[in-house]
Amino acid sequence: MARLRTSALAASVVALALASGCPQSSEDAGPPAGRAPAGSQPNQTGGDSTTANVEIEVINEEDLQQILDQNQGKVVLLDFWGTWCAPCLELLPHTIELQQRYGDRGLVVIPIAIDVEDTKPELEDVLLDNGYSGTAYLSEYGISEQSITSFEIATGALPYLRIHSPDGTVAAELYSDRQPLEPADIEAAVEAALP
């Protein structure tokens, strides 16, 4: 009985450690989800694209406000991530997938990388591998205080996601607190924010 308890304990600890483990190289970024089917391009208003492609635009907080303004009427999920943040890389495919499942209910998923500019090609690869297509963003401030304050990343830590309601106001902020942030938490918050 004691042995079972110890190994169950050990297995749980290992599982938890792996789940909440911090950055590894981006090669460890979870199973590639393959190219996204046409239609998962939040920044295009319609039409089909037969080529999956990702383009990273460098932005600051004013640019982000413009993006939010352009998406008024939609529920916008901002996913702040980085190649250095392993929990972010684990969440990424799940977040991107929400676009496919809730896009027709008005959800727009926007990944914003807090990372150094040199990683732009890597960012694009990771997004593509995780089923993203279209424009994604990179903070112009790098991994810095400026990124944290300008984009209002409340905890100073990633992962950090923010949901904006159709009127532009903040519906929810999502981050790991005592326990790691799970895909189910994000989905629940998205559901709650959708009309």
């Binding site: 450690a17 250095w84 810095s144 205080e145 990343i153 100073g156 830590a157 790991s176």
Partner: protein
């Protein structure tokens, strides 16, 4: 109270219920603010295999308590900066004390010893697997700094500087705070936003 919760948590863990559901009432504390008396710590094991307490460092004019860890790229990017800072400020009576509270395999004591040797850590590097010191201070990320003045009050807390990339740093928050304290003044900027990887609280 704590013990009861620990056995409840252990029982739930065996039943494969996520540890997440064990919210402990004690964790309401948000940590320290600037001006608060520093939280005492006692008998935390260091990479020298000795036990370390805050009281051991009463000779230090200023203490820089640095929450770091092995695996986080942001913390790693700051290792050299901490070593240089300790070198620059040692004669002036500043003591850097690094502490890791993550229990991930990559962060544990044996790995901490290896990293400290590789990087030439010139300060104690402590391992608190109970995570109590991190709870007490309210550390959120690695790296996260708490500066203790002569009276052992929190004089500065937050980031070391403003950019992970050394060549892009424009504000030396920690050095400025230390310079002020050593000159008998209060830091002009007493609190900044620490950024990095979240501490892996259990």
């Amino acid at each position: 109270m704590l013990r009861m919760w620990q056995s409840v948590c252990a029982a739930l863990l065996v039943a494969m219920v996520p540890l997440a559901s064990c919210a402990r009432a004690e964790e309401e504390a948000k940590g320290l603010k600037v001006g608060d008396k520093a939280a005492e710590w006692k008998d935390i094991i260091g990479i020298d295999d000795k036990k370390h307490s805050l009281a051991d460092y009463k000779e230090a004019k200023v203490i820089v308590l640095a929450f770091i860890c092995n695996h986080c790229p942001v913390a790693v990017a700051y290792e050299d900066r901490l070593v240089t800072l300790q070198k620059d400020y040692k004669e002036k009576g500043v003591q850097v004390i690094a502490v890791n509270v993550n229990n991930l395999p990559a962060d544990r004591l044996d790995q901490m010893k290896i990293r400290a040797k590789e990087k030439g850590f010139n300060f104690p590097y402590l391992y608190d697997s109970t995570q109590k010191i991190a709870h007490d201070y309210g550390a959120k990320v690695t790296p996260h700094i708490f500066v203790l003045d002569k009276e052992r009050k929190i004089a500065y807390m937050g980031a070391i500087d403003d950019n992970q990339q050394v060549d892009k740093v424009s504000k030396q928050y920690l050095r400025d705070a230390l310079d002020a304290l050593l000159a008998g003044k209060k830091p002009q900027v007493a609190e900044t936003k620490a950024f990095g990887c979240s501490i892996k609280y259990e």
